[in-house]
């Protein structure tokens, strides 16, 4: 289905949020995930359903500063 990932429309296979992470080869421990502006708990990534048009935000750790 087509969902929006970080502002970009993307075709991803599967039906739950975790499928989108897997499709992008992203380890769930390396990212905070928002579905339609609401944070999805890491434990719930595999049980939170996705539907076409959903907006996903993958927020990566950004640690630098010096």
């Amino acid at each position: 289905m087509v969902v929006e990932i970080n502002g970009k429309s993307e075709e991803i296979p599967g039906s739950v949020v975790l499928d989108a992470l897997n499709a992008k080869h992203i380890d769930p421990q390396m990212v905070a995930v928002e579905l339609n502006d609401t944070l999805v708990e890491r434990d719930h990534l595999g049980s939170t359903p996705l539907k076409p048009g959903d907006r996903l935000e993958f927020l990566f750790y950004m640690g630098g500063g010096r």
Binding site: K24, E34, L39, L59, Y61, M62, G63, G64, G65, R66
Partner: protein, 296 residues
């Protein structure tokens, strides 16, 4: 306090702004801002806040200037290589604006001193390069009730985020804990385009001044992510998380702890007893190397 004629001239472009005026400039003169880390983000933030006439700038960093810092840490000059960063920064600030009192701490920001430090200031700026310190700053500002302007840079990307403790989302509302060290797979340099430090550090300084002046709308409950390659700013809405381990309904983080440093530290024998910060000047990027893989 009254401004001298010289000060009125120096700050005239502020005073001309109806939202600032003489009254706002006095607020700036009475403000105390703590900058944690006198490096990439800390450099531009300190310079602009000094130019703005911030009364007291606290600087904490225990590092010395390294040649590889100069590509982005613009407060330090070539002749400063090998000198303590807080001393180098203090000299530049005082040369730029003698009105500013600089309090320098040649030390690490750690659980033992964090709360005491933030309590002494009105706003805190995060200019550190590693997750344990970023989480510690977040926790200390929440527990100490101080506004925090968070910043981060990596490669061609940057992020700014303002936190009003107890009122807006904190860093842990989104990132519950530091990334597991095992996942930071390699210690290769990820690198950063130096100017990113200027873009993000000056936005942090802008946020700090807005908070001091009480003007505008702070960058709270939204993360501002900057992508230099596409020259794009993007706002990501975030909100307080009732399950946040720090500011949620059932907090589990109730005191400050020094998180273990990532695996890179362990590979460097000299650095293992150095606590939360990398020992060498430029260990910043490796901790996050790989974490942004797949974002593009």
């Amino acid at each position: 306090m009254e401004f001298t004629d010289e000060q009125i001239t120096r700050y005239s472009r502020h005073i001309l702004l109806p939202e600032v005026g003489g009254k706002g400039q006095k607020k700036i003169a009475q403000a105390r801002i703590l900058i944690v880390g006198a490096g990439g983000l800390g450099s531009p933030a300190a310079l602009y806040l000094a130019a703005a006439g911030v009364g007291t700038l606290g600087l904490i960093d225990n590092d010395v200037v390294d040649l590889s810092n100069l590509q982005r840490q613009v407060i330090h000059h070539t002749s400063d290589v090998g000198r303590p960063k807080v001393l180098s920064a203090k000299e530049k600030i005082q040369a730029l604006n003698p009105d500013v009192t600089v309090v320098q701490y040649e030390d690490r920001f750690m659980a033992r001193n964090a709360l005491e430090l933030v309590r002494d200031y009105s706003v805190v700026i995060d200019g550190v390069d590693n997750f344990p310190a970023k989480f510690l700053i977040n926790d200390a500002c929440y527990l100490g009730g101080k506004p925090l302007v968070h910043g981060g840079i990596l490669r061609f990307d940057g992020r700014v985020f303002t936190i009003l403790p107890g009122q807006s989302a904190c860093y842990r509302c989104i990132f519950t804990q530091p990334p597991p060290p095992g996942l930071v797979a390699s210690c290769q340099e990820a690198g950063v385009l130096g100017v990113l430090a200027g873009v993000i550090g000056t936005i942090q300084a802008t946020e700090a001044l807005k908070l001091i002046l009480g003007i505008g709308r702070p960058l709270t409950d939204r993360m501002l992510d900057f992508d230099a390659r596409n020259m794009r700013f993007r706002e990501i809405a975030v909100k307080r998380n009732p399950r946040c381990p720090l500011c949620g309904d059932h907090p589990t983080v109730t005191e400050l702890i020094d998180h273990e440093q990532a695996i890179c530290e362990l590979r460097s024998p000299a650095a293992t007893d150095q606590g939360i910060e990398p020992q060498a000047g430029d260990r910043a990027a490796p901790h996050t190397a790989g974490l942004l893989e797949g974002t593009t």
